[in-house]
Every structure is written in C-alpha cells, then in structure tokens.
Subunit: 427 residues, 2 copies
C-alpha cells in the first residue's frame, strides 16, 4: 500500500448510458468537488460500459495502483447492473442480502397488492459482497458498499441516491485517507482573470488555476500540507487585495439579504421566461420573502398584467429602457414588494435588428419604499441558453452591488460595476 | 492494429478543473452521443489532471489498445495547457505553428493597440505536432489536431470550440473508422421498464438497455451490422407494440401542438417556481402561443393575482385540488389563453404534514373554449430538485395524453394514464 499521505482516490464510473452518450455524468463533479474540499486527490476517473469482464478487469487494474477506489453505477435490479457481481467475482466471495434493505423492499413493494412484480429481481438490489458493509440509501433501494480492504466504496448511479449515502461515505473516507493537500478557493466578481494573475505573485510551491462562473471567476490555490504557511499567506494576500469582491454567489448573498432584512422581492421577466423566478425559488423558504413572479412574454400581458403603457411599447419597443422601467414599477404594484426587478431582451435566434441585435437586454430595478427606479442594460450575444443565464446572473449581481456592496446608489452608479445603470426620474 | 470493424474510440479528457470538481464535463456526452449515432463504440473514457508525464503515459497506454484516440482539453495558451507538448514528446517530433491560426491571432489580438499582451504565450496555441493536420476552430484559437497514424484527434476543452471543429472530426472519423454496430433508440412513456423487457423477446445477438427520463424511459437496441435483419425486425416489433407511446419528449410534442393548432397556453405555478415557464420558453418562438406565466408563491398572490378564493385556501389548503382548480381558472381569466395549467405542491424540505407529505402536488387544467376543468395529483418524494422536475414533466405529459394522444377526455380519464385526474364541475 502507498504511504497514507500519497493515497488518493480513483473513480470508476460504470454505465453504458454514459459511454453511449444518453446522459451527462454529474456524479463525477460532485465527488471530485467533495474530495477537493477534503484535500484528497482524485488521480484518475475511468468510465466504462456495463460489461462484467471489463468492470472486473478495471477494478483490478485500478486497485493495483494503491489508491482508494470509488465506483458509481451498476447497483440496481436490471440485467446491466453488474457491479456487485464484478466485486464478488474479484473478491472471490458470495453476495449476501442486507436485511434492512430487504425490509424496505418488503414495505415499499410487497405490502400492496402488486401482482406483476418480479420479487427476485427487486430483491437482487439488496445484495452486497460477503464481508462488506452496507451503507444506507434513503433515496433508493440499493445500499452502498464499503470494503476497508482493499479500499472500495461502491455507490449507485442516481445522483440523489449518492447524496443520501454520502454522509456515510465521508465517515469512511476520512478514517481511511489522510488529507494530502491544502487548498483555498475564491469566487471573485468584477475582476478579469488576467488582473488576478498580474496582481499576486504566486511562488512555485503553490499550484493555482481558475475557471469562469456566470457572474465572475473562481480562482484556487493548492499545495501540500508542509507548505501551509506559504499557502495561507498567499491566500491572505488575495483576500486582502480582492475583498470584498470575493463572494459565494450573488444569488445566495441576495437571498440572505432578503431574509435577514425581511425585504420582499418580486421579478417581472420577459426574455428569461421564468429563469429568475426558478433560481430564487431553488432556495427552500423562498416564500417568506418572494411572493412570486409574472412572466410577461406577450406585449399585451406587459400591458394588462403589469400596466406597461401600450404607447411606451409602440414608441420605444418591448425591449427598451422605458419598457423595463414600467415593468418594474407595474410589477411592484401587483406584488406590493419592497424591490421588484424586470428583464426584457432578445434571446434569439430571431427578433434581432441592427439597433437591437440578439443578445440585447434591458433591466429595471424599483425600490418601493424609497420610490427609486433604476434602468440598466447588457449585451450577451452567446446563444439563447447562455444569454438567459448571463442576463439573470447579471441582474442578481447588480442587486448585490447596489444593496449589499455599495449600499449607496451614487457610489454604485459611479463605480465600474454600476456604469450600465442609470437612476430614473419617478413622478 | 485491430481489425477495422472492431476498432472503436477511446476518449482522454484532460483537465484538473474536472478532477478537482470545478466543472461538469459535458463534452463526453456530446462526443459519445455522436459516436453512438455513427455506430462507433466508445470503449473507455479516462479523465486525468493537467500533468505532462501523466498525459504522455496515458496517451501511450490508450493507443496500445489499438483503438482511435480522441483527447479533449489542454489546448490553449496557459501553463496548464500541455496536450501539444505531451503529443510532441510521445511522437518524438517538434511542434510547428499553423499559419492560418497565426493570421487569426494577428487579426484578433495584435492589430489593435494592446500593449500588455504576451505575444509568445498567445501564439503558443497555434502549435500542432510536426506531421499532424490542424483542424480549423472558428469559435476559438487553438486548432484541433489530427494524426491519421497512430489515430489521434486532439480537441480543445470548450464545448463551443469542439462543436465548431466537429464537422472536420466527422470527416476524419468516418474515413478512418468503420461503423461497428447498428442501433435503434426509443423514448417511451407510460410503460414501466419491466413491461418493456417482458413484452418483447430479444434474441441474444441483440444488446439492449434503457435509462429513465423525467417522463418515461429511453430504450435502445444495438447489434453488429451482420445482424441487421434481426435487429430491424425487433425494432419494428417494438414500434408496433408500443406505438404511440413512443414520442420524442412530451414538451416538444406539446409545443408543436400549440403552434400547429394556434392554441394559446399559460401556466400558473406555485411550488415549481417558474420551471414550467422556463421550459416552455426554452423554445425559440414560444411567444406566439405562450403569453406568459404567474408564479403565485405566496397565498395572497394566489388570491390577488389569480382570484383564488381565500376561503378555499383556508378550508382546503394552498396545496389542494380545490386551490389548483381555482388557480387554473383564475389564470385563464388573466391571460385569456385557450389552455391554462396550475401546479401547487410541497417541494420541501419543510412544509409537509402527515396528510400532505413533502412531494405532494396538485394540478389543474382549464380549457377555456370548452369550459372544461380537470384536477389531478401526483406524489414525487424525491427531494426538492427532482420533485420540481417530476411535477413539471408530469403535467406536460398529461397535456400530451389528453390533447394529443387520447384527444377525448373520457378515454383519457378512464385510461391508466389519466387515472390521477378528474373532471370537475364548472359553473
């Protein structure tokens, strides 16, 4: 076995649905991100189809490399769920049935009058290799499998099931693997990638990298434990230099702000078609501060439901500063919320013009208590899907900047961040 | 080299951003799905961090297996873009610069007054190994790399760049690899996985499998070219047996139905918080048939904006058949649309009760022209995210069943598919 602090993870993803391109594998990101936060290296990820011989061979060759093995997929009731068979064959043991799992199956499937069910097939997912420990799965049936020696955890393929087993995985992993690196990670808004690298001199003992977010950049540092002092000092420099541009996510910050200050919020969307609403209602408890949203896709709805003047639309267009302002004010009347935003733009592929090409978007922000109205604009010509994401994150970032970062609207409007916004006259 | 019809693809994904869990790798699905459609097997996918020695070693061991190698990632200007160096070192050749790429760099970067740019670094992405062919990248700078012998294509990591190079990849791949299997694939609704397998006897020459969709199952068949006759006959049997349960996606069908018949549609959502609206407005041109949506997250908004009687809410609850019905009717008045749906449920994690646990959802469907109202219910206790997806796809599938599949509401309500719905009295 490798020295403990060299030992990392190798991940084996089992599933023809992935190698045949039917589904996106999102488990890999979840598992790798958890490992990064624990300071455990993921050295390799191998994805293979559901094939018994191949699974067994790959398990063997991966374990030879001396790291801990996590497998996903292939635990279930169908013919192509082969992970347990492969493990048993590799370990030269027989499968045994987990009693707690059998009880759940009994309760969920066999208690009702379900004549057509193939009992044997359903019960087959309760199996684990003899000598292994079953890890409870509260989202599905098949238990996870843990084998301290040679160091294997097998998980199902469904993301929710992996998450339900995950607390047990963490307990096992943190007992059996030592942290092999330290890391710091920062989400930074309003600072281009190149500026980050030009501002901070990073010594060669420290690895670093970045990737873009819909509203900024993620930047990370990484080094082995013995470089803790150097690493922490670089991290402090970055924090000092870029704080308070370092935030988790403008949407999280905004939702926290609303809850903490009991500020109510509503959204009037056109081109983004409900995405701003969907993202804010992803937070459990959103209903305390977010009464709702209107998607005014049709111009008549802008007029009928949020009182946009039809003359405004005919004179300036549905995608205009003026319409955005009236949407925000009209929406605020409907929802009686403290802050109301509006988004109107051209997602494409059709609908663009030389003056207002596809990618153009206008925003409104109306603050009811202060009777203040702001208009803003953006240009995100990246295709329909990316346009909608960029537009929604851009307005949430602006709300963060105005109400949480600058707090004062003159400061905001004069900042590089607020330059795409104007304060409007309100009668 | 392997016999041509045995030769498939091995995919090497290069990027620490993936092994560290910062991003989801969506290129794998794109490439695997394209290969499946071409009838070319993807035998293995290996994902590794940006490390020169490791990249070189992995390229070598993958090529040994005799298949064609596609790599993604590691082509670019930064220090961790190492694919070209690894290829050159493995092939024992020097890098050469692609002239067409240099010209683009010149035009994009060096024509303007951009003092601070590191020319050497930017030009480094024009390199390919000597003897290789550069594949034009119209979305980015780094060209793709093609080496007929030993059979390598290297692509950048950005999905848009891969897609821009893809037509060239297809030309090379289809010259150098033979189709090694034939396939058929079906999306089927309303038929449990087990019934599919029990209904059709599949001979052992034919491989098969399925994966679940939010509204049904995808089922595929696969076999080598010499079994074409058997494979096609099984496919015809499945089509005959399950047609018209075979559809692309209920949402696509529903949108087509709305457009073709000029039927207008609106959505009133509570627990799904804008997701039903977001999905229908994903279609370009949605505004022709979809004026908009109201998200009535707060009970007062249900009352004030879509005229739900407050007595209904206090007597039966916001999550009830009665409230769903009033939401659909009230929403229809607001939007004046032919068909209006409503969704009200408990996404969780909080808000459940013994009578109405987390996962409970009620639906309403109101047809304005016929003055017909239906209520329905579902139970999807799978966590907040999956609940919301399941609830939205469930109502879109029901709309497909009622208006496109059965066309007659008595047939629908008496079918296994319509059993969770009732026709309501309307005054």
């Amino acid at each position: 076995m490798k020295p403990l602090n060299d030992r990392g993870i190798r991940l084996l993803v089992i599933g023809s649905e992935i190698t045949q391109g039917f589904v996106n594998d999102t488990n890999t990101r979840f598992i790798c991100s958890e490992m990064f936060n624990l300071g455990i290296s993921v050295k390799e990820i191998i994805t293979i189809p559901d094939n018994l011989t191949l699974i067994k061979k790959t398990i063997k060759s991966l374990l030879k490399k001396g790291d801990f093995l996590i497998t996903t997929g292939g635990l279930g009731p169908t013919d192509d769920d082969l992970t347990i068979d492969a493990l048993c064959s590799f370990l030269k043991v027989k499968p045994v049935s987990v009693k707690a799992c059998e009880k759940r199956v009994q309760k969920l499937f066999f208690s009702k009058n379900q004549g057509n069910i193939n009992r044997q097939r359903i019960l087959s997912q309760c199996r684990i290799p003899a000598g292994a420990e079953g890890l409870p799965n509260t989202s599905g049936l098949a238990p996870g499998v843990f084998l301290r020696i040679p160091g294997i955890i097998s998980l199902p393929g469904f993301p929710e099931e992996i998450k339900s087993i995950w607390p047990h995985v963490l307990k096992k992993i943190t007992c059996d693997l030592k942290q092999s690196f330290l890391s710091h990670s920062f989400n930074i808004w309003g600072v281009p990638e190149s500026i980050i690298y030009e501002s901070i001199l990073i010594p060669k003992e420290v690895q670093y990298g970045n990737h873009s977010l819909p509203w900024g950049n993620n930047f990370f540092l990484k080094s082995s434990s013995e470089n803790k002092i150097i690493l922490d000092s670089i991290a402090r420099k970055i924090e000092k230099f870029f704080q308070p541009h370092i935030i988790d996510n403008p949407l999280n910050q905004w939702f926290e702000y609303l809850k903490t200050n009991q500020v109510t919020f509503s959204t009037i969307e056109s081109c983004t078609g409900g995405l701003a609403a969907k993202l804010i209602t992803d937070f459990p408890g959103a209903s305390d501060v977010y009464p709702g949203s209107i998607v005014t896709y049709d111009n008549r709805i802008k007029t009928n439901l949020v009182n946009v003047n039809p003359v405004t639309i005919s004179q300036f267009g549905a995608v205009s500063r003026q319409t955005a302002c009236e949407m925000a004010r009209g929406g605020s009347d409907k929802f009686n919320t403290d802050i109301t935003i509006s988004i109107t733009g051209i997602a494409g592929p059709a609908g663009g013009s030389p003056e207002k090409p596809v990618g153009t978007v206008y925003f409104g922000i109306y603050n009811r208590k202060l009777n203040r109205l702001y208009s803003g604009h953006g240009f995100f010509p990246f295709g329909r899907e990316r346009f909608r994401n960029a537009a929604v994150y851009s307005i949430y970032l602006s709300l963060f900047q105005l109400y949480i970062f600058y707090k004062d609207d003159s400061l905001w409007l004069n900042s590089p961040q607020g330059k795409n916004f104007n304060r409007e006259n309100v009668d």
